[in-house]
Structures are given as C-alpha cells and as structure tokens.
C-alpha cells in the first residue's frame, strides 16, 4: 500500500469561497477533534472516508471555534452565546447549509441551540452520515472479515442517544462490520453516561465511591468477556473516558477503544 497513497490537502471554506465554490458539506471538527491527540486520529479517519467516497467537503480550519457547549452545560450562558453568535456569523457568511460533525456535543449544540440565535443548518452526526454511505453502497466495508468473531460493544453517548434519539445509526454502522455486536446491560435509552458530559470533562469529579467512567468500563469489560474486544464510541468525551477506564483496569493490551469512523476506515483499508 505504501507506494499507492496520495497526500490529502484538506480544503477550507476560505479557499472554496476564494474559488467561488461551495462544498456539499461542512465538516465541523470540534475542539477535541482538532486538539486531542487521540481524537485527531478519528478526525483523520473521517477525512479519509470523505476523500475515499469523493464527497465535496470543506472545514473551517483555524476559523473554527468552540461551539460553546462546555460553557453552556457549566451554566455560563453568557460565554456560550458569545461563542455561538460569533460562530453563526462565520457560518452564515459562508452560506453553510449542511454540517457534519463527529462530536455529539457540537452536533447537539449547533442543531438544537443555534437556531434560537439565528443559525439554521442541517446538522448530521457522523454516525448517521456513515450509515447513509453504507446504505448507498458508497462504503462497502470489504475488509470487514478482519472483525469476524470479534466482540464489539457500543457505548451510547448521552448527547447522541437520549438527547437526540439517535440509537440505531451507530449500531447499523457497526453491523456492517460483520462483528459480534454485544449490548451492555445499560444501553440505548437506559445507557450510562461516561462521566464527561455537562462540563465534567474539565473538572475533578465530586467526592463519591467511584468515578463514573470506571463504573461504565467495568460494565463494558463484563459484557465483552475476557480479552480481545472493542469498545466502540461515537463521541470524543466518551473515548477519553473509556480509554482512561480501560487503562485503569490494566486492559489496554486486550481491549481497544475505537470510534466508529476509525473502524470503518480500517475495514475499508484506508488506515491501519
């Protein structure tokens, strides 16, 4: 494969506008997707898929800024609206219509909370987007056998599931992999939070018996059985929390945490 690869030049909205073009979708990367070392790999995997299927997309690049979600959930409505109104100005200036993002928090905020402030877009989470690509046959997951017999359990993100009723899209994506999809005891509407939402990601947990991500990781490990399984996530916060949990349980050798986009990119032979 080494010799057959091509360097991707990720297009930005500014470049597109300069060329008088408009992309089909804006890929909203999000702060975690741009700065978190682990989640940058998800961003790259998703771009590899976009390039592979030939969707006309663009990103904001350095013009993107935090959606304001952590500020809002922490109660700082002022800072949230400051961020939102500034972002909306940028998005509207580029005449953006359709946004895809791999972060459920960005997704929820732009989809549900930006309209009140003048930002109206069609917002799609990458799980739904990937599901559509698979349904349309644009992604075939030919290397899917690599997952045969592997146990995968999907951890629902609160901001995708309960907050926006998206439970099936990520599962459909995983089903395409022909893996052994197992459900945790608490899943879908009854899923257990990873412990990072509501701005918890940015502070120490309150005193208690246990951290929430440990409780959730224990449940995932119990579901996967001993060794060699995958915890699939569709949210940067969940990924950090589950990774920390797996490390805490000394299971990082046998149990891997992957985003659904990474699993698809792997199955398509787009990344290692």
């Amino acid at each position: 494969m080494e010799e057959n690869k091509r360097l991707v030049k990720v297009p930005t909205m500014a470049q597109m506008a300069a060329n008088g073009e408009e992309p089909e979708i804006l890929f909203w990367v999000g702060c975690a997707g741009a700065f978190d070392d682990r989640y940058k790999r998800v961003t790259r995997a998703f771009v590899q898929i976009l390039e592979h299927v030939g969707v006309k997309y663009a990103v904001l690049g350095t013009e993107e800024s935090c959606t304001g979600d952590p500020a809002k959930r922490a109660g700082n409505e002022f800072l949230f609206q400051m961020q939102a109104l500034t972002n909306i100005e940028v998005l509207n200036a580029y005449n953006v219509k359709k946004i895809v993002t791999a972060c459920p928090h960005c997704f929820n905020t732009i989809k549900n909370e930006y309209p009140d402030l003048g930002g109206n877009y069609e917002v799609i989470h990458h799980s739904t987007f990937l599901q559509q690509l698979i349904n349309e046959g644009k992604v075939k997951v030919q290397g899917g056998e690599a997952f045969k017999g592997k146990r995968i359990t999907f951890h629902d993100s609160c901001y995708l599931g309960r907050a926006n009723d998206i439970y099936e899209a990520p599962r459909d994506v995983l089903a395409a992999l022909d893996a052994d999809l197992v459900e945790m005891k608490r899943s879908r509407a009854n899923g257990l939070c990873c412990g990072a939402g509501g701005a918890q990601m940015f502070k120490e947990p309150e005193p208690g018996k246990k951290d929430i991500n440990i409780e959730r990781t224990e449940e995932a490990l119990a579901t996967l059985g001993a060794g060699n399984g995958v915890i699939a996530t569709a949210c940067p916060f969940c990924m950090v929390m589950m990774n920390d949990g797996v490390k805490n349980k000394d299971q990082e050798e046998s149990v891997k945490v992957f985003d659904i986009a990474e699993l698809i990119a792997q199955a398509e032979g787009l990344s290692k």
């Binding site: 304001g68 909370e113 609160c158 009854n190 005193p207």
Partner: protein, 457 residues
C-alpha cells in the same frame, strides 16, 4: 326518600369537597409563584403524549412488576370512581344502587369493580412488602426519604387497602341481606359471593353493617382526597397536566436566555437596538435573576413538576452521579423544590415542610440561608450532574429534573461567579483560545498535516 341521613351526608360531602378546593387553590397559588413560560404550543402532540404517558402509563412499563401492580391500582382507581359517583347520588337522594337500571352493563361494572378492588388489595400489600420488608433500595435510601415521605407512602397503601375492605364489607352485607330477603340482586358480585358466610343472618344487623361499610368507604374517600395535596399521592391528579405540559423539544436542547442575547448583540454591534425592557404594573423595569436562586426564579412548570413527583426514585437510581456515590439525587432536587415552595408560600392542611438541618443528615451541609440554593440544595450536588438526561428519561410522569439543576447552576456561575476553579480556567480558555483547552487557536488545523489516503487503482 330524603331523610336526616341524606342531609348529614350532603353536609359532610360539601365540607370534604370544599376543603379540597381550598387546598387546590393554595397549590395553584404556589405554582404561580414561578416565572411565566409559554407552553401552549402543539396541543395535538401534547394530547398524544398525555394519552400515552399519563393515561397509557407508557413509561411505567420499563419495570414490569411494579408496572403491573401499579396498573391494577390505577385502573381500579378509575373504575371505582364510577361507583363513587353512584355513592354520591345514593347518599344525597337516599336511593339504593341508583345506576342499577342500566342492567347487564351495571352487573359488568360491579363485577369488574370487585375484581379490581381485590387486585388493588393484593397490589397494595405487595407494595407494602417491597417498601418495608424487601426494602427496594430506590424506595428506602437517600437523605430525601425522611420520616415524612416514608410514612406518607405507608399511609397511602394502608388507606387504600382499608378503603377497599370497607367497600367489600358494604357489598357483602348488602348482598347477603338482599339474598335472604329474596329480593332481586342488582349487579354482580363475584368476590363478595365468596364471603357471604362471614356475617350472621340477622337482617337488621346486616343492614347496619352495610351502612357502616358504606359510610366508612365514602368518608374515607373524602378524607383521602384531602390528604392528597400533602402527599406524593397527589400525582394521581398532577400527572395529567404535568405530562401535557412536558418538554416536546429534544432533551439536549437547553433554554436560551434572550436578555443575554440582546446584551451580547449590543456588545458586538454598537448600533444594535435591544427591545425595551419589560416593565411591571408600576412601570418599573422587571429585573430578573440570571438562573435560579430560589423557587420564584423557576418557571411554573418546574414548580408543577415538584407537585407531581411520586418519589419513586427511578431518576435517582439511574443517575450516574448517584450510582457512583456522589451527593446528587435528582429526586431530592425535585422534593426540595416542593419543600421550599411550601415553606415560602402556603402549605396544605396536613403537611409541613421540614429541613435537613434539623435532621443532622451526614454530609448534607445546608446553610441557614432560607433559599432553595444552599438552604436546601448545595452546590456540591449541582456540580456532580453530567447533564446526561437519564433522570428525565426515566421519570414516569415526565418531570424535567435537569432543567432545575441547570437553572441553579446558572445562578452560581452568572450571578456569583462561583464555579469550581477548573471550570473557570476552561471558561478563560474558551474566551482566549476558542477551545476549552489551553492550545493556541493557530494550531487548530494541525491535524490535517501529512494525511494520506490510498489512491484508487
């Protein structure tokens, strides 16, 4: 024939109902302490939701055993109310089984009534067992499950059993008297038929026993009705309006404060003209707190939520913070709101709000300050919430615990700048770098460096 007994009955019923109306007025007043919010949109969707969740008990069926037991009590409550209507008419006009003229339909109704009454007794007995013997954790634990809520639950269950027994005493004695006198039996009594032998054969005695059963049942119902406003059992009324007015938007959508929007728009664009501020009756601008410190800062719907709570603890038992031993319990947030509202406003005849301070509850350090925030709910509880919506999802009567938590958090941040230090650092990062972490905004696009894809063919 209308006699002295009917007049006494009329007076008793009027007093009972009058007292109830007076209590409801107090509750209405308390709820209207809250801020206004417009929830009159989408009536058809709201009616649908009410039919499904309130009438149809949709969300109860997440847990099978309590759902089935509860269904018995719920259907029993509705059907037995039809008989209560008959009792009222009989009582006022001195008639006997006045609805009997509908014939087979009446027999069906009475038979159903008896079967349901028996099921209610069984269900209530099992509920008592679950609370007091097997001690289902969500019903037994939590600082908010103080003496009163615990007693309240038992009072209700025992009262329901006693009321049903009184109904049977009336039916059995009446049935036996009619049978012995060779009169035609009006209605059908599948359960009472079994028990006719427990009473003697003296017709006068049977008449008196039936009368005592009848009076006990109706007096009990009137008393129970007036107990409701002081009790978690009030949900049998409040569940319907509360579900009707519940949130129709995606659970992830939190409210937007337009006052803040105007302020920011004016900051960003000096030529922006914010609308004139709202004024009160005297023409003074209405000053509103950002977020909620006390009950009057919450909306009437949030206050109505607290009157609807059944204290079932389903929310608390799925709350990740609570599961992992943090102080937060969404049920406590709702119950505290009710306690504080009744302390500040009026409270129903039987109940008087009580305080954690007086109970010496470990780790719950409320202050002397008589406000919802700090007097009842501590910042530690509020900061433990992950805004995961598990509580909202689990609540059988569509209470939005999270909205109250968020409004209290907003007060801490916007009015007191009392966020934990690490959150303040996060705010600063967003302000300066456009990201919650301290990375320079110029690095935001670095992820795209040296990105390869396999070229096709």
């Amino acid at each position: 024939m209308i006699g002295i007994e009917n007049i006494i009955f009329l007076i008793v019923a009027a007093v009972g109902i009058g007292l109830f109306v007076w209590q409801i007025r107090k509750i209405r007043k308390n709820v209207l302490m809250g801020r206004d919010t417009d929830l009159a949109d989408n009536p058809s969707e709201r009616i649908n939701k009410t039919l499904l969740v309130a009438f149809g008990q949709q969300k109860m069926f997440k847990r099978m055993l309590p759902a089935v037991l509860h269904l018995f009590v719920y259907v029993g409550f509705i059907v037995i109310n039809i008989e209560v209507l008959e009792i009222l008419i009989d009582g006022i006009f001195g008639t006997h089984r006045v609805l009997g003229f509908v014939g087979p339909l009446y027999s069906g109704l009475m038979a159903l009534n008896e079967i349901l009454a028996a099921l209610v007794i069984i269900a209530c007995a099992m509920f008592l067992w679950r609370r007091n013997v097997t001690k289902v954790p969500r019903l037994a634990t939590g600082v908010e499950m103080r003496a009163w809520p615990k007693m309240d639950a038992n009072v209700i269950l025992i009262t329901e059993i006693v009321l049903m027994l009184a109904l049977f005493v009336f039916n059995i004695a009446d049935l036996k008297r009619v049978l012995l006198a060779g009169e035609e039996v009006v209605g059908a009594y599948p359960v009472s038929h079994f028990f006719v032998d427990i009473f003697g054969e003296d017709p006068d005695q049977l008449y008196i026993i039936a009368k005592v059963g009848w009076w006990f049942h109706i007096l009990g119902i009137l008393a129970f009705m007036n107990y409701l406003p002081s009790s978690k059992h009030f949900h049998i009324i409040m569940a319907f309006p509360n579900v009707y007015y519940s949130k129709l938007l995606p659970k992830g959508k939190f409210t937007t404060n337009p006052a803040i929007t105007h302020e920011i728009k004016a900051m960003l664009d000096p030529s922006y003209q914010p609308p004139a501020p709202e004024v009160d009756a005297e023409g003074n601008p209405v000053m509103q707190r950002f977020g909620a410190k006390d009950v009057e800062d919450l909306t009437w719907k949030q206050l109505m939520d607290s009157y609807t709570c059944t204290e079932c603890g389903r929310c608390t038992s799925v709350c990740p913070a609570n599961i992992t031993g943090k102080l937060l319990s969404p049920r406590k947030i709702v119950m505290d709101t009710r306690d504080r509202m009744e302390e500040k406003g009026e409270h129903p005849a039987i109940f008087a709000p009580n305080h954690y301070k007086e109970m010496g509850v470990e780790r719950m350090e409320t202050t002397e300050e008589k406000t919802l925030l700090r007097g009842y709910i501590t910042p530690e509880e509020l900061w433990a919430c992950t805004t995961c919506n598990a509580c909202v999802e689990s609540c059988p009567v569509n209470i939005d615990q999270l909205s109250t938590i968020m409004d209290l958090r907003r007060f801490l941040v916007l009015e007191e700048s009392a966020a934990p230090a690490s959150l303040n650092a996060m705010f600063t990062n967003i302000e300066n770098n456009g990201a919650p972490w301290a990375f320079p905004a110029s690095d935001r696009f670095n992820w795209a460096d040296e990105l390869y894809v396999p070229s096709k063919n």
